[in-house]
Point group: C2
Chain length 175, copies 2
Amino acid sequence: MDTKTLCLGVISLGAASGYEIKKAFEEDGLNHIYHTSYGSIYPALTALTKEGLVVCSAMAQEKRPDKKVYTITEAGRGALLTALSAPPAEDKFRSDFLFTMFFAHLLPPQHVAKLLDERIAWYEGNLAKMESSQGCNAFVHGMGLAVYRSAADYLKSHRQEFLDHLSSADKLVAE
Amino acid sequence: MDTKTLCLGVISLGAASGYEIKKAFEEDGLNHIYHTSYGSIYPALTALTKEGLVVCSAMAQEKRPDKKVYTITEAGRGALLTALSAPPAEDKFRSDFLFTMFFAHLLPPQHVAKLLDERIAWYEGNLAKMESSQGCNAFVHGMGLAVYRSAADYLKSHRQEFLDHLSSADKLVAE
DNA sequence: GATGTATATATCGTATAGATATATACTGGA
DNA sequence: TCCAGTATATATCTATACGATATATACATC
């Protein structure tokens, strides 16, 4: 799913600026589903405009920087439908944290404990945010909640076991 | 977590070739935790060798292409420890599928049903593979299992509800 | 008065993903 | 038997993506 499609999707829900598209991937229903950055969004919007899939209208704002609002065209709706009809790529979970835990035996136990606690807090913080906002698509929102909840639950219920396992393995090495 | 660190981590568990490092991120315990490609691995191995963090020994093989086996150095173990001690980035879940489901109202219902069934099968297939292999790190392996299981369970238990919701929303539009 | 956050666009360099090229050997089906 | 597909193995190329940075204004907070 390239950035052009991501932008087109957001704009299909209503005219938006690059800044607002970025926010949609941070706050709104798209959070934790896909990620993107200004470095990809702005060039994508320029390309979409050139291809006639969106139109741009500059908006002068009082007390705010000028805003460029992009609106989807009929051709844009067609292109979005085509892109969404292609077989979706595999779901990918990427975790610096789990990679680090894979090598926890190399790290001081108190550092591992700190990392575990921080990640539990991170998941719980996100869960609280997600639970308070209902998201625009209940099915997608619910899936995010289910996955994050299981991650938080797993970390909480296996934290001590893992730390115990690490320290007992350490003792064996010391012997 | 850059590719150099990913390679260094795998090599720290035992000497490995670029091909074997790739496999570690596809089959072994690192599957579903982090992803990388030859386009990143081979340049990373070259850089690691130049920096003296790994050493390369060419291995001629009978009936197989030559293999370059990389072994970690003491400096490499130090560099790995330093990299693992840095604060880990946020966990990121990226799903073409969920992004598509976010716009399910634009797609034919039977196509949405097909996508749901395929994704359920995909999660269940992965779960079966993960359950049969025990992984080298029980904690990390267990987290992967927990998350995938919750994803599969969620999709199975909300599939029909979602499809019903889509068709009823469709009827409202038609009226 | 200084610092931080929010709004808003844009670009730059590096890193990454994914496809492709090359080569050999084995396996399974038509 | 031949052909296609899969597995082993390295390497590179291009397009894209990420993350940091620059710029500018306004507002809140300390």
